[in-house]
């Protein structure tokens, strides 16, 4: 059976969007910790965050499978409340989110590090609590980089293949995203037109996301904040 083109595209967009929305707050907290807090074991956390970037994706997928299996460390508590991510689009979103995490953390961390700590000091002498300095100085100045990181993560999620197919398999209409659909179509003789159509959509979506991310990060830097 060949699900129609728009089912595939819509599913990919939905999975990527959910992946980014769920990952963004986590990436933000991690980026903040790595950029501004000194704590023991920091290099370990840094390494762990970056692991999905260098690990073979199929290994990441297998680890997710172990973790979210019904008797796994994360799967068991989820099973207790009747939730399973295996072979579901939600599982695909988790896989995409994990794979996008290092890129998002990197982009957000750089933008936080680029905020001049002397401006934050000036704000404190003016009577602003640490929380207010955060809200009124650090986050607004880092915002273009945070947005760029989110868009970059979205683009990465759209392209996610190895961890996803390992973790949630290839189920049309449920976990068959654009790259997986292209891979499937390639197995069937005579499906070249379908492959070409899917590939063109992939290129256009990725390019658009990349340009948007680039444009957003260029708006960073003190001179171009507004």
């Amino acid at each position: 059976m060949t699900p129609d083109l728009w089912t595939i595209v819509w599913l990919s967009l939905k999975i990527s969007l959910v992946a980014v929305l769920v990952t963004l707050p986590i990436a933000f907290v991690l980026a903040m910790l790595l950029a501004r807090v000194r704590f023991p074991g920091k290099f370990l956390l840094d390494g762990l965050v970056h692991l999905p970037l260098v690990l073979p994706p199929v290994v990441t997928g297998w680890l997710l499978l172990l973790a979210f299996a019904p008797n796994g460390p994360l799967g068991a508590p989820l099973a207790a409340i009747g939730v399973s991510l295996l072979f579901r689009w939600t599982g695909a979103a988790v896989a995409a989110g994990i794979m996008a995490l290092p890129l998002m953390v990197r982009a957000i961390r750089l933008s936080i590090e680029a905020v001049d700590p002397r401006l934050e000091g000036a704000a404190r002498t003016l009577g602003a609590s640490r929380l207010r300095v955060w809200r009124t100085i650090t986050i607004p100045l880092a915002l273009p980089g945070i947005a760029a990181g989110a868009v970059l993560g979205f683009a990465r999620s759209l392209g996610e293949f190895g961890a996803t197919i390992t973790f949630v398999s290839n189920i049309p209409g449920e976990t068959q995203t654009l790259p997986i659909a292209i891979y499937s179509a390639l197995q069937v003789p005579g499906s070249d037109p379908m492959v070409a159509r899917l590939a063109v959509i992939s290129v256009l979506l990725s390019l658009a996301a990349l340009l948007l991310s680039e444009w957003l990060s260029r708006r960073g830097g003190v001179d171009h904040v507004f």
């Binding site: 000036a122 009577g127 100045l141 003190v222 001179d223 904040v225």
Partner: protein, 206 residues
């Protein structure tokens, strides 16, 4: 007594910033060549750098000693930096009012400060469109509007050209004489110090 300061801080690099002095009302100039730790001393008085030991008392209030360490945001310190250090994502008006919340009612109003410093026409501008002299005026205004109990000025003229220096120096004299807050003024320029200072504290190389 306006300032009663005795602070020292050893940096990871091994260099030590130390300063001890007492002074009365008016403008106290910390005078010395660059690199003797004048800026670090101001940062310790402002609460941005924690001294290893010593005490900071300003206008009778203990800001730091063995048992006290008032956080920077509660020291009521109007800090004017060498670079104006305005917030680039706020217009001049919002920069000026950034610290005004805590001063509510007390101290000067936006109109009074704008008139004193001649910046009323700049209120809707972005900081990046200001000249160095204009930015420094706004920075002084922002400090005054935060309801400070004292002012710290860290070479506020150093990044300005000569005519601008004269203008800002006149403003500082007006602030000194009309606002009446204790001012601690850091400089390596003998001329500035002679003209502005009520008391001079020399900082030699340690």
């Amino acid at each position: 007594m306006s300032f009663d300061v005795d602070v020292r801080h050893r940096f990871r690099s091994g260099t030590v910033a130390a300063l001890a002095f007492q002074s009365g009302a008016g403008l106290t100039a910390l005078f010395g060549p660059s690199g003797v730790g004048k800026t670090s001393a101001l940062a310790m008085i402002a609460g941005l750098l924690r001294p290893d030991a010593g005490h900071v008392r300003v206008a009778g209030r203990t800001l730091f000693d063995r048992t006290t360490n008032v956080p920077a945001e509660q020291r009521r310190c109007g800090y004017i930096f060498q670079d104006a250090r305005l917030f680039p994502h706020y217009r001049v008006r919002a920069n000026l009012l950034y610290g005004a919340g805590r001063a509510a009612g007390a101290g000067m109003t936006l109109d009074e400060v704008s008139a004193l410093l001649g910046i009323a026409h700049l209120l809707d501008r972005w900081p990046r469109t200001l000249s160095g002299g204009e930015a420094q005026r706004v920075a002084i205004g922002r400090a005054l509007l935060s309801g400070p109990a004292f002012l710290l000025m860290d070479e506020p003229l150093a990044s300005l050209d000569r005519p601008r220096r004269g203008e800002i120096m006149e403003l500082i004299e007006r602030v000194r004489d009309e606002v009446g807050l204790p001012i601690l003024y850091v400089s390596h320029d003998r001329g500035e110090v002679d003209r502005l200072a009520t008391t001079v504290v020399e900082m030699g190389s340690v």
